[in-house]
C-alpha cells in the first residue's frame, strides 16, 4: 500500500503537471478567465446592466467586441461579469461538495456502524439523474444563487463521498493507523493527520471535474428557467435570454456558449493533468 503515500513523497507534482503543454495551456486559459472575472470593472468601459435601447442588437464591432444584446447592453462586458457568477458557482459547488463529501465519506469509512446508512443515502442520491435532482432541490429551496450552489453541491456530493469513503477504508486498516489508535491517539487527530492528508489528491482531482460539471449544470438549469435569478447574468442565462434572437442576432448566444465550452474543456484537461501528476498509479488511459 505504499502508493497511498506516494503523492506526498513524489518529487514535484507541479513539475509533472507543467511538463504537459496542453495542461499548461489549460491552466493559462483558466487564469485568464479568473483575471477577467476579478478585474472586470477595469477591463471594460461599459456597465453590465447599462442599457441603451437605441443601440440594441448591434453586431460585433470595434466598439462592442461581441456586439450588443436586446437591451443594448455590451455583450463582452456582460460576458466577463457573467464569468464572475459562472465561475463562482463552479468554485462554490466544488468547494461545498468537497466539504460535504469529506464529512460523509470519512464518517462512512471510519465508523462502520454509520456506513450502511450513509452508503444507502449516497445510493439514493445517485439514483436521481443530476439535472433532475437539482431541479427537485431548487423547486424545494426556491431559485437563487446560493440555493443553486447548495443544490448542485448536494448533487455532486456522492462523487466525493465515495472516493473519500474508499480511501478511508483503506487507511483505517493501515498498520501505522492501527498503531496510532492503539497508542491512544484521538480519533479526530487520526482522521486529520492520516486520512485527510492521504485523500487530498483524489479530492482535488474530483473537485476539478465537479467544477466543470457544475458550470454545465448551471447553464442547463438557467436555460430551463429553474436556476438562478435571470437578472444576474451567467453564461447560461445569456444563452437562454438570447435564444429568440438566434436567427437575427446569433452573436447573442454564440459568445456565451463558447465561453462555457472553453472553460469546461480547460477544466477537464486540468483535471486530467492533475490526476496524472498527483496520482501516478492511474494510467492515462481513460
Amino acid at each position: 500500500m505504499s502508493a497511498v503515500t506516494a503523492s506526498a513523497t513524489h518529487a514535484g507534482p507541479l513539475r509533472v503537471l507543467l511538463q504537459n503543454r496542453v495542461v499548461t495551456l489549460s491552466i493559462v486559459v483558466l487564469g485568464i478567465f479568473a483575471i477577467a472575472a476579478i478585474f472586470a470593472p477595469y477591463l471594460t468601459p461599459y456597465q453590465p446592466n447599462g442599457l441603451s435601447m437605441r443601440e440594441r442588437l448591434l453586431p460585433p464591432s470595434s466598439e462592442h467586441w461581441a456586439g450588443t444584446d436586446e437591451l443594448g447592453r455590451d455583450i463582452f462586458t456582460r460576458l466577463i461579469y457573467a464569468g464572475r457568477v459562472s465561475l463562482a458557482v463552479g468554485l462554490g459547488v466544488a468547494a461545498l461538495a468537497s466539504v460535504f463529501g469529506v464529512v460523509l465519506g470519512i464518517l462512512a469509512g471510519f465508523f462502520s456502524r454509520l456506513d450502511p446508512a450513509i452508503s444507502r443515502l449516497l445510493d439514493a442520491m445517485m439514483a436521481f439523474p443530476d439535472v433532475l435532482l437539482a431541479i427537485a432541490l431548487l423547486a424545494a429551496f426556491g431559485g437563487s444563487l446560493l440555493n443553486l450552489i447548495i443544490a448542485l453541491a448536494i448533487v455532486f456530493t456522492p462523487r466525493i463521498a465515495r472516493v473519500v469513503r474508499a480511501s478511508s477504508l483503506v487507511v483505517r486498516e493501515l498498520t501505522y493507523v492501527e498503531a496510532a489508535r492503539a497508542l491512544g491517539v484521538s480519533t479526530p487527530r487520526i482522521l486529520f493527520h492520516h486520512v485527510f492528508r492521504n485523500i487530498t489528491s483524489p479530492i482535488i482531482v474530483q473537485a476539478t471535474f465537479i467544477f466543470a460539471a457544475a458550470m454545465l449544470s448551471e447553464a442547463g438549469l438557467s436555460f430551463l428557467g429553474i436556476g438562478i435569478d435571470p437578472s444576474m447574468p451567467t453564461w447560461g442565462v445569456m444563452i437562454s435570454a438570447g435564444r429568440q434572437y438566434i436567427d437575427t442576432a446569433g452573436w447573442l448566444i454564440l459568445f456565451p456558449g463558447l465561453a462555457i465550452t472553453i472553460c469546461v474543456v480547460a477544466l477537464q484537461l486540468t483535471g486530467d493533468g492533475l490526476r496524472d501528476a498527483l496520482d501516478p498509479r492511474i494510467r492515462k488511459s481513460i
Binding site: R120, D123, A124, A139, L224, I260, T261, V265
Partner: protein, 313 residues
C-alpha cells in the same frame, strides 16, 4: 451468491425508501402555489385560498405523507393536480418521445463512439487517436442545449433538412415522429458519445494489454482475428456497463433537450410539473426515474455476473 443477492436486494429496498421520503418532502418544501397558476394573473388571495381548500392542499403535512404512502402500497401514485388524471397515465402518455429519443441518441452515440474508441485504442497515440480524444473532450464540454439551438438553426431552419421542433401533428405517422426526433437525438447523442468513446477506448486498451492477447499474438493468429475475436469480445463487457450507467445521463439530457425541441416527453413533463407545482406528478416522476435507475443498475450487475467469468461474489 444467494447471500449476495439478499444483501443487494435489501439495499435496494432501503435505497428506494430513502428516495420516497426524500421525494415527498422535497415536493412539500417547495414555495409557490399550484392554485395561483390555475387562477391566472387577475386573481386574489381569497380565490387562491378557496381553490387550495377544494384541492386538498390544506391538510397537515404528516397526514398528506401517510396518505401518500398508503396510496403507494396500493400502486396508486396519485392524481396530477394539473392534468386531473392518474400520474402514471400522464407519464405513460408522454413516454414514447422520451423512449425513442433515448434509444435513438444512444444508437447514434454507440454507432459513432464505439468504432472510433476501439480503433483509437488499437492505434494508441496516433493522430486518429489523439483527434478522437480531443473531439470527445469537446463533446463533453459543449452545453447540450446550446448544441441543440445551433442544430435547430443550421440543420433545421437554414438547410431545412429536419423538422425544427415539436413532435408533429396529432395524426403524424411514426415515421414523421421519428423525423422530429433526429435533431434532438443528434444533440443528445453527441454528448453521450464522449463518454462511450472514452470508455470503450479505455476498455480496449485494458484488454489489449492482457496476457492472453499477447499469447494469441505470439501463437501467430492473424492480427485481424486477434482484435475482432479476442480483444473486442472482452472489451465489450465493461462497455455494456457504461451504456447502462449512461441511462441517468440520458434522462438528465432529455430533460433539457426535450425543452429545446419542444418535445412532449417525460423530461418536459417534469419541468412543467415543477413550474406548475404539480406535487403528485413531481413525486411520481422522481420515483419512477429513480426506481428505473436502481433497477437498471441491478440488472447490469446481474448481467455482469453472468457474462464475466472473472467477477465472483
Amino acid at each position: 451468491m444467494v447471500s449476495y443477492l439478499r444483501t443487494r436486494l435489501l439495499g435496494m429496498v432501503l435505497t428506494v425508501l430513502i428516495v420516497l421520503v426524500f421525494v415527498f418532502f422535497i415536493a412539500r418544501l417547495a414555495p409557490g402555489d399550484p392554485a395561483e397558476l390555475l387562477l391566472g394573473p387577475d386573481a386574489s388571495a381569497a380565490d387562491a385560498e378557496a381553490l387550495r381548500e377544494r384541492m386538498g392542499l390544506n391538510l397537515p403535512v404528516p397526514v398528506q405523507f401517510l396518505s401518500f404512502l398508503g396510496q403507494l402500497l396500493r400502486g396508486d401514485l396519485g392524481t396530477s393536480i394539473f392534468y386531473r388524471q392518474p400520474v402514471l397515465e400522464v407519464m405513460a402518455a408522454r413516454a414514447e418521445p422520451t423512449i425513442l429519443l433515448t434509444l435513438m441518441s444512444l444508437a447514434i452515440a454507440v454507432t459513432i463512439a464505439l468504432p472510433i474508441g476501439i480503433y483509437g485504442a488499437y492505434r494508441r497515440g496516433g493522430a486518429f487517436d489523439q483527434g478522437a480524444v480531443a473531439v470527445a473532450m469537446l463533446a463533453a464540454a459543449l452545453p447540450n442545449f446550446w448544441v441543440g439551438l445551433l442544430l435547430q438553426k443550421y440543420l433545421g431552419t437554414d438547410l431545412g433538412w429536419f423538422p425544427v421542433s415539436g413532435y408533429g401533428n396529432p395524426d403524424a405517422s411514426i415515421w414523421e415522429r421519428v423525423q422530429h426526433l433526429v435533431l434532438p437525438s443528434i444533440a443528445l447523442g453527441f454528448a453521450q458519445s464522449a463518454i462511450i468513446l472514452r470508455f470503450s477506448r479505455a476498455s480496449m486498451l485494458d484488454v489489449l494489454g492482457d496476457d492472453y492477447i499477447r499469447t494469441a499474438r505470439s501463437k501467430g493468429i492473424s492480427e485481424r482475428r486477434v482484435v475482432l475475436r479476442h480483444a473486442l469480445r472482452n472489451a465489450l463487457i465493461p462497455i455494456v456497463t457504461v451504456i447502462g450507467l449512461s441511462f441517468a445521463l440520458l434522462i438528465s439530457g432529455a430533460v433539457i433537450t426535450e425543452r429545446v425541441f419542444n418535445l412532449p416527453g417525460v423530461g418536459s413533463l417534469i419541468v412543467g410539473a415543477v413550474l406548475r407545482r404539480d406535487y403528485p406528478l413531481i413525486q411520481a416522476a422522481l420515483i419512477v426515474v429513480a426506481a428505473l435507475y436502481i433497477l437498471v443498475n441491478f440488472l447490469i450487475d446481474m448481467i455482469y455476473l453472468a457474462i464475466d467469468p472473472r467477477v465472483k461474489y
